[in-house]
Amino acid sequence: MDRVMLPGAQHNANVSLKLSVPGLACTAEVFLSADGGATKVATSGQVAFTATGSQQTVICPVTMPQVGGIFYAYLDIAGGGVVLDQFADEANRILVPVVSNVEITW
């Protein structure tokens, strides 16, 4: 499902997950990339959370890039300085439209 998000707009990525080690200090990062995750055009940064051992939600605010394009969301989960897992939401596209060179003539 495509979602249109305006450039510069901030949207919260609600990451719902279950980490099996309760009490583990972790971080989550949601970022947008158009090239498979190699280049981050926008990121939530490292959002810290503590694993509860059960299903929990981590909110990752992301400011949309100023450059228009079609992006995918990626999620990295780290704990103890180690990347625990990576996810790619390639089923849903994030469309960041940019309108430029506008001219109206009659």
Partner: protein, 403 residues
């Protein structure tokens, strides 16, 4: 500044680049005076972004309300507004057309039943926009026709509408505050006739007499034929008629009335002019020079007579003589008269007379052979010493009219 007529449709050509490619978007161009209230809009025009510069055509119907409008462009996708722009160029919608009738001109203004008139509405567009107006035309207060007038702002023009009137009457034409009228009526027929005869007192008809019938609308003439009869066709009405002919006195006017299709009869009896017993008592005193005091004696003459002209005068102390006396007939021919001549007083004042006779020797025993007015003329000379003669006066005397 763009100026568009109210209600007119114009295409806003929107050129833009939308990234990313393939987005289903909508564009809306809308006009507003306050940035909030939409006065006119293209509506949502769907397009798919190409990622490159593309053009979207947005038809906008201009608002009816005159004013200056801001032009906004909204780009949306997926129900969300992507971006909004305000055009640097505003749109001005001038005031609406205001076409009014200034005057009505009808031609002709008088017709017969079933006749047509041309009703011309002279109009001016007092508004700020070009426009067209269907102008109701009322005939005697009833809406009968429409005049469709198209005028540019500030311009004047006319529209013509034909109208046929079927019955007699006066028709008042109104449109807006202008009005004019025309009349539909049956014309008066030229069917009336005046007839009659002009004749002498003896009952004999007079040929060539002129009969004239007059009223306020004009004058109609007729001439009698060889038997003295005449006929004049003239409009129904009331007239004064009189007859006249050469050598006759004019008749007294007679009033008559003739109706359409009918005949009135007026006869005339003309009195012939006669001079048989006309008498002239000519008396004249000359004062110039103070010497001669002629007294004209009564002159009696009649047609065919030999006329004697006698001049009586008083001689005082001068010598006097008379120049030749001539008589001029009505046909312009002049003849010398016998008589007159030279007289002198020799310092013996007294009453003298001189006589002339019309007619000369030979083939002209008399001059009174042509009907008409005769003129007698001669000169009078005087002298103190019987040597230095000077013309004292000249005379032109009308003898009379001879019939």
């Amino acid at each position: 500044m763009l100026t568009f007529q109210p209600g007119s449709t114009h295409i806003a050509n929107v050129n833009l680049t939308v990234m990313p490619v393939g987005m289903e978007c909508t564009a809306e161009v809308w006009l507003t005076r306050d940035g909030v209230q939409t006065a006119a809009t293209s509506g949502l025009i769907a397009f798919t972004s190409t990622g490159a510069r593309q053009q979207i055509q947005m038809p906008v119907v201009m608002p009816a309300l005159p004013g200056e409008y801001l032009v906004y462009l909204d780009i949306a996708s997926g129900g969300s507004l992507i971006d909004a722009f305000e055009a640097s160029e505003h749109v001005t919608v001038p005031g609406q057309a205001d076409i009014r009738v200034d005057a009505i001109v009808i031609n002709p203004t008088s017709i017969v039943p079933n006749g047509a008139v041309n009703i011309q509405l002279q109009c001016t567009n007092y508004g700020g926009s070009d426009g067209e107006r269907t102008i109701p035309i009322y005939i005697n207060g009833v809406h009968k026709r429409d005049g469709i007038m198209t005028l540019a702002a500030g311009k004047s023009g006319a529209v013509n509408v034909a109208y046929t009137a079927f019955v007699e009457g006066t028709y008042e034409v109104t449109a807006d505050n202008a009005s004019a009228s025309f009349v539909c009526s049956v014309p008066q027929p030229y069917s009336g006739t005046l007839t009659g005869i002009a004749k002498r007192t003896t009952g004999v008809g007079i040929a060539g007499a002129i009969v004239e019938a007059t009223n306020d609308e004009g004058s109609w003439l007729g001439i009698t034929d060889s038997s003295g009869h005449y006929n004049i066709s003239l409009p129904a009405g009331t007239y004064q008629a009189k007859a006249k002919a050469a050598k006759f006195y004019d008749s007294s006017p007679q009033q008559f009335t003739v109706a359409g299709g009918e005949t009135a009869t007026v006869n005339f009896i003309l009195q012939i002019m006669s001079v048989n017993k006309i008498k002239y008592l000519l008396a004249q005193t000359l004062t110039e020079g103070g010497y001669i005091y002629p007294n004209w004696q009564q002159l009696n003459f009649s047609l065919g007579d030999l006329v004697t002209l006698t001049l009586r005068f008083n001689m005082v102390t001068a010598y006097v003589k008379f120049g030749p006396m001539t008589v001029t007939r009505p046909d312009g021919q002049s003849f010398a008269c016998r008589g007159g001549g030279f007289y002198h007083a020799d310092n013996e004042p007294g009453l003298y007379y001189s006589q002339w006779q019309t007619g000369d020797t030979g083939n002209n025993p008399t001059f009174l052979t042509v009907p008409g007015t005769y003129l007698v003329s001669f000169q009078l000379f005087s002298s103190e010493d019987n040597v230095n003669w000077a013309q004292t006066d000249s005379f032109n005397i009308v003898l009379g009219i001879v019939s």
